[in-house]
Amino acid sequence: MRFVLRRLGFFVVTLWAAITLNFLIPRLMPGNAALSMMSRYKGHINPNAMHALEVAFGIKTHESLVHAYFTYIGNIARLHFGISLTFFPDTVTHQVLQALPWTLALVGTTTILAFILGTLIGLVAAWRRGGVLDGVLPPIFVITSAFPYFWLALLAIWLFSIKLGWFAESGGYDVTTTVAWSWAFVSDAFRHSVLPAVTILVTSIGGWILTMRNNTITVLAEDYVRMARAKGLSPWRIMWHYAGRNAILPNLTGFAMSLGFVVSGAILVEFVFNYPGVGWMFLQSVENQDYALMQALFLMITVAVLIAILAADGATAILDPRTRDRS
Amino acid sequence: MSEPLLRTEGLTRHFRVGKLFSRQVLHAVDEVNFTIGRGEIVALVGESGSGKSTIARLLARVYKPTSGEIYFEGRPLSSIRRRKERLAYASDVPMVFQDPYSSINPAYRVSHGIRRALRLHRKGLGRPEVERLLGEVGLVPPGKLAGKFPHELSGGQRQRVGFAQALAFSPKLIIADEPVSMLDVSIRIGLLNLMSELREREGVSFLYITHDVASARYIADSVLVMYAGHLVEEGPTEDVIQRPKHPYTQLLLSAVPDPRAPLGVSDAADVGEPPKVVNPKEGCRFQPRCPYAIAECETVTPLLRPLGPQRLAACHVAEADVGEPAA
């Protein structure tokens, strides 16, 4: 229980840090890009919304910093992120919620898939030490883990879309199809997401495979694995309950820590494929100086990462009885 | 009687354990009084958890006493304030550690620690002194060995380096914290002999901390027996070993395997373990395992009382030597 509380506390602190960064950065930057952005809103939105923007970006300096800060936090707590410039006059909140499902579907599922597959492959590779899997995979994946995501995306587009014409070149779906839960739409969306998904999968799986393999090798050298062999347990049982369950623990921590990397890659992949997810929208907002939208998306991304980390922590607590006893 | 080299009075050290606001206090050392004379080897015998390592660290000023005082050459350690005085004490009372594999910095040659000791405490002495010290502890040829890295030496050799490091200070008292327990049996004697020799040649006193009663008997002039944070018996070595008064000392001695003793040992298997002394009540801490316990033992903590010439034991039931009144 203490463990859970500590992690929740960490969640809150990090969220607070992200919010504060959002608040401070525009004020710390030289020049005032926000001012030029604000002028585009003038006359188009109501005074309340205007005021909220001023607070968020520190335009009217007669308000004290502290006061502005708390107003800002108050707005965020009520999910008042403002009105988006890019999608004017739609609210930021609404737009974010539109993009979210696309990203969850693409990035969420591929990341989880990559983690699970990578962990399994790493486990088997280490188990069959010296085998084909173990000899061939590590060097290959060491190299692929260094590939820039977006470059692989470009390669994929070139090869599979332009040259071979197998998959769609960009977008989340064909713009001529109506957006609905129809088979036509869903299958179309699916076809559009294959390439981005494969890109993310191929680049991120390498890291999981390698770390799991290394962890498993270390665990296999432990005394309790030798005990399991001495007890005459089946190799399957040893691999799962003795090696696997212990080797995956540091991998879960590693998962949490490398999420930042995965997220950055996902943003670029969405960008290259024009896939209408959170990452793509994030970059659009930067392009358009739509700072209100940008800030909200930044927070969203941070929250997503934090939730994933909490989930990993929860899994660790379930799998490792020692964490529950630690103060 | 002249002032002994080192004297402790009511030496006590407690640690707060458990979670942040817990009231659990671990009584590592409670009310320990003993003296060490010039050129004397005193053995501090006890099992893990008895507090002997804590006493070593109290004497080395790694910890400050919770209460009580340590007097070195008549001056209380608590009066040491300035860096100069601290350095002076550190050079008078250095420590030799238990683990030959972690007591020397693996990144440097073995002469490193000796050099640093000389630089801090006996400036102006360089390479010739390093070689002289290595020779003193039996590491020859000293010139060649001074340039070796720790992983190139055996465990026994590394412990000798540890002694050389201590000797570099030109010390009056060396605290040897289980210096031979991690070495092979055939090597131990060499180091124990070295300690005797250093006492004869240089007049250095030793506080020899160990769980091995037999080695204590081999070199020590007097023996202190610790149990669960208390000093339970003390006296000249031969006397304590041959005529132990405290039931714990008797148990300890009976458990020592002796190749020269006849076979057929089957004492009642005592499955007790020394207690973790957290928030202890009054009463003798050995009472749960003591075959001689009486009602008083449960409620009144026994104090060290004289039971013979220079003989003390903390037990309600122990008998004095013939001719001495039972106090």
Binding site: L154, D223 | D212
Partner: protein, 647 residues
């Protein structure tokens, strides 16, 4: 008592021919990934330092035709602005290299500062620093940098380096912190503190030098991250679009729809360069991991054709039914970094039903390897292979049995108790689950019967059955050890093999555990092989004793006989090396010197270098002689009795 002079303690240093610096070079050169990484990196370094000399044209010159395909004049064609792609690639190298090294250096420096200080200072400082580290670790860096760049576009190289460096240190800091924490208990740090070193000195000169491999790994990781992130930022247009770099090339290519327009190389090649430079760092990082973690290195034992393992007969000639175990000529070797090492050399032993055999010897003599070879449990981390001999257990040769056949008899017929039960019990399973594992693997007992049996064996070793539901870390050291013994008794096997089960215990607990083991043995009738370095302890309980020295049997006979009349000079020396609490307190000598290096063992008697009775005959490897039932490998007895066999 008279004192030994310093000369008696003369010790010959171990012969090491290489210095540790040379060690690293050898390790790197021998590792293919490291070599590949170094070569790649060197390649890019050369390009970065000498772009003018290598590139065919200037990177910015727009003199050539636009969008040309590859040709001999332009290996990778030209851009939409008429620049030569190859030249741009080459001149773009410098920026990537600068970013990699500058950010790597900056991030590593901060990581070292924060990580080491946090761990060393502890307390509140540690709490605060760790919190900051974790928060920065979690907040996604790339989006954060984008947010910063959004307000201030066209940031130059310097800003990029500073921002990347200021945000990319957290992973390294975490690792350095945990490494420092584990170092905190190392005595040499305490020694430094105790001798009066200042804190700053300890951190910089005592702690950091021991973590060089971690620092290098941190640097490589940071460099990799810098290269990838910088390229990504430039690609989406947040860098300086006029700079010469791979990322900017990709940006312009994307803006000109290079892929669709057929300018494929322009769009792809900069990415290839990023990937290759990144790969160089990744390879080096991985190789470093392997070099510093020996467990990750796979070494194969090479066997020369002549030494091929002869197919041993499944059932030996005339097995003695009285004997439950017969080991004949067992040899074990493993592959070390410097070549094959024979850890067990031609060992013979036998064991009768219900007999208690002690195997004693010092560290490195091969006793544990022998034990695990008998139990067919070699493998990581011992990593040895049986290279010859037979192990006849109840008449069947275990060496020639397959894993499946072995599995059938494991635990039922023989079980194992290992040293240090903290590690030998699976930390994520309860005691009950671990007993159930074994029971289910070899029997068909119902759930209730399993529980019953588990409680039964716990009671045998005086553990309250309520602890069935505990995890290993919740039990005390002594209890864990006894739980292991209980587990070994689940099937009441005929043989229990014990590897130093009492070494981690205090002397009183040791004694009571030994007594308990002996009692159980007498009650249930199993045979025991007990490996230990503590000869005096085991002597009270063993029927026979086998003394090992330098991978060979030195002496083997009835315990009492061995103690009353030790024949081998090593055994004599060992017995002399135990101070006693009874009898006269005599001066002892011990055995000066140390055992031979098993990589290159001496040709003759292996103990000769330390033996007080050594003479010329010792140059020939002595066989085992039988002296009144006591087997001894010493040339002193060659004339008394006949040799047992030419071994």
């Amino acid at each position: 008592m008279t004192l030994p002079s310093a000369a008696e303690a003369v010790v010959e240093p171990l012969e090491i021919t290489r210095r540790p610096g040379a060690d690293l070079w050898r390790a790197v050169a021998g590792n293919r990934k490291a070599v590949a990484g170094v070569l790649l990196l060197a390649f890019f370094l050369v390009l970065a330092i000498f772009p003018g000399q290598i590139a065919p044209y200037s990177g910015t010159a727009e003199d050539f035709g636009r969008g040309l395909g590859p040709s001999s004049a332009h290996w990778f064609g030209t851009t939409a602005y008429g620049q030569d792609v190859l030249s741009q690639l080459i001149s773009g190298t410098r920026q990537s290299i600068i970013i990699a090294f500058a950010v790597g250096g900056l991030a590593t420096a901060i990581a070292v500062l924060v990580g080491v200080s946090a761990a060393y200072l502890g307390g509140v400082a540690d709490g605060v620093l760790s919190l900051i580290t974790d928060v920065i670790l979690v907040i996604p860096i790339f989006p954060l940098i984008i947010v910063i760049a959004a307000y201030e576009r066209n940031s130059g190289l310097f800003t990029l380096v500073v921002v990347l460096g200021a945000l990319g240190w957290s992973y390294g800091a975490r690792q350095l912190r945990s490494q420092t924490l584990s170092l905190r208990s190392r005595d040499f740090l305490e020694a430094a503190r105790v001798r009066g070193e200042r804190r700053f000195y300890v951190i910089v000169f005592e702690i950091i030098p021991t973590m060089t491999s971690l620092i290098v790994a941190s640097f490589l990781g940071a460099a990799l991250y810098a290269v990838l992130f910088a390229a990504g930022l430039q690609f989406i247009g947040l860098g300086d679009p006029n700079s010469q770099s791979w990322g900017t090339m990709l940006y312009w290519a994307e803006n000109n729809e290079a892929l669709g327009a057929g300018m494929v190389y322009w769009a792809i090649m900069p990415g290839v360069c990023v990937a290759l430079l990144g790969a160089a760092f990744a390879l080096l990082n991985y190789a470093f991991d392997e070099i510093s973690n020996p467990a990750l290195r796979l070494r194969r034992l090479e066997r020369k054709a002549a030494q091929e393992l002869e197919p041993a007969p499944a059932v030996a000639a005339a097995p003695d039914s009285e004997k439950i175990l017969e080991v004949r000529g067992l040899s074990v070797a493993y592959a070390s970094d410097d070549g094959p090492v024979v850890a067990v050399d031609n060992v013979d032993l036998d064991l009768r039903r219900g007999e208690f055999l002690g195997i004693v010897g010092e560290s490195g003599c091969g006793k544990s390897t022998l034990l695990y070879a008998i139990a067919r449990l070699l493998g990581a981390p011992l990593a040895g292979e049986i290279t010859g001999g037979q192990v006849l257990f109840k008449g069947r040769n275990m060496v020639s049995m397959t894993e499946r056949e072995l599995r059938a008899i494991r635990w039922r017929e023989y079980s194992v108790v290992m040293q240090s039960a903290m590690n030998a019990l699976n930390p994520v399973l309860t005691v009950e689950a671990q007993m159930r594992d074994a029971l289910k693997a070899h029997s068909d007992l119902s759930k209730r019967e399993i529980e019953k049996r588990s409680k039964e064996v716990l009671r045998l070793v005086s553990i309250d059955p309520v602890h069935l539901h505990s995890y290993p870390h919740q039990l005390s050291g002594g209890m864990r050890q006894r739980a292991m013994i209980a587990m070994a008794l689940l099937f009441t096997p005929d043989l229990i093999i014990m590897d130093e089960p009492t070494s981690a215990l205090d002397v009183v607990a040791q004694r009571s555990l030994m007594v308990q083991i002996k009692e159980l043995q007498e009650r249930l009738g199993f045979a025991v092989i007990f490996v230990t370095h503590d000869m005096s302890l085991v002597s009270h309980f063993s029927d026979r004793l086998l003394v090992m020295y330098a991978a060979q049997v030195a002496e083997f006979g009835k315990t009492r006989q061995l103690f009353d009349k030790p024949l081998h000079p090593y055994t004599q020396g060992l017995l002399e090396a135990f101070p006693s609490i009874r009898g006269e307190n005599m001066r002892l000598v011990g055995i000066p010197g140390h055992p031979p290096d098993l990589l290159r063992p001496p040709a003759g008697c292996r103990f000769a270098a330390r033996c007080p009775h050594a003479h010329e005959r010792c140059a020939i490897a002595p066989p085992l002689y039988d002296v009144e039932g006591d087997l001894v490998r010493c040339v002193l007895y060659e004339h008394d009795r006949e040799a047992v066999a030419a071994r």
